[in-house]
């Protein structure tokens, strides 16, 4: 199907690529269908684009790129609701809040997007403890100095 997107104009997508957020995302509870789009020339980030609302799109990234030791335990309700059978089917993405200049951008580690790649069911999972920040930095003073 052909969809209108926020950043990439009209894009042709395959129906089997559609990701279902059964209860939407916090703040967007009616938005249940999304697709992940690649950004030309950018391998680090992708776009989580709403199928229903062309203007709604999040920039997402693999949180492990910025935080190698990022780990958390999925609780039973989310494993059940996404019907996760095998760990290898789990895809984890973090929503980015892009700022200008770019190095001030943050990623939300407290509420990652969890996708079961097998059945394309997804959910924004709010970690039940405060181990990670929802505005985690993507650059660190050491890197800025060019060390």
């Amino acid at each position: 199907m052909l969809i209108d997107t926020k950043y990439l104009g009209k894009v042709q997508i395959e129906d089997e690529k559609i990701i279902q957020f059964e209860s939407g995302l916090p703040g967007f509870n009616d938005e249940t269908k999304f697709v992940i789009l690649d950004i030309p020339g950018n391998e680090l980030m992708q776009i989580l684009q709403s199928i229903q609302t062309p203007d709604l799109a999040f920039i997402v990234t693999n949180p492990h790129y910025y935080y190698k030791n990022y780990t958390f335990k999925l609780d039973e309700p989310i494993i059940d609701s996404l019907n996760i059978q095998e760990e290898k089917n789990i895809v984890i993405l973090a929503i980015m809040t892009i700022q200008e200049p770019f190095h001030l951008s943050t990623i939300n580690l407290q509420a990652p997007i969890i996708i079961n790649s097998k059945n394309k069911q997804a959910k924004q999972y709010i970690l039940p403890y405060d181990q990670y920040e929802m505005k985690a930095a993507i650059s660190f003073p050491m890197e800025e100095k060019g060390v």
Partner: protein, 75 residues
């Protein structure tokens, strides 16, 4: 809003399968136990609200955001 007064170890039942118990009170903190079906999501309100705000901020990026990436890579 329905307002009920409960003592420690007393509980409230909501519908068929949700039970909220007052486990203890210490100063201005109340320890609450919640029994609910797995499908019912339970969050601390301020955290849920903050995630909503963060999602809204993340979704409000300008459409020309990619020129920003280009600018950075040139710089």
């Amino acid at each position: 809003m329905l307002i009920l007064t409960r003592k420690t170890k007393e509980a409230i039942r909501i519908g068929e399968d949700i039970e909220i118990s007052i486990l203890g009170i210490e100063g201005d903190q109340v320890k609450i136990g919640i029994s609910a079906p797995k499908s019912v999501e339970i969050h601390r309100k301020e955290i849920y609200d903050a995630i909503q705000v963060q999602n809204n901020e993340a979704a409000k990026l300008p459409k020309d955001i990619f020129t920003l990436f280009e600018k950075e890579s040139e710089g």
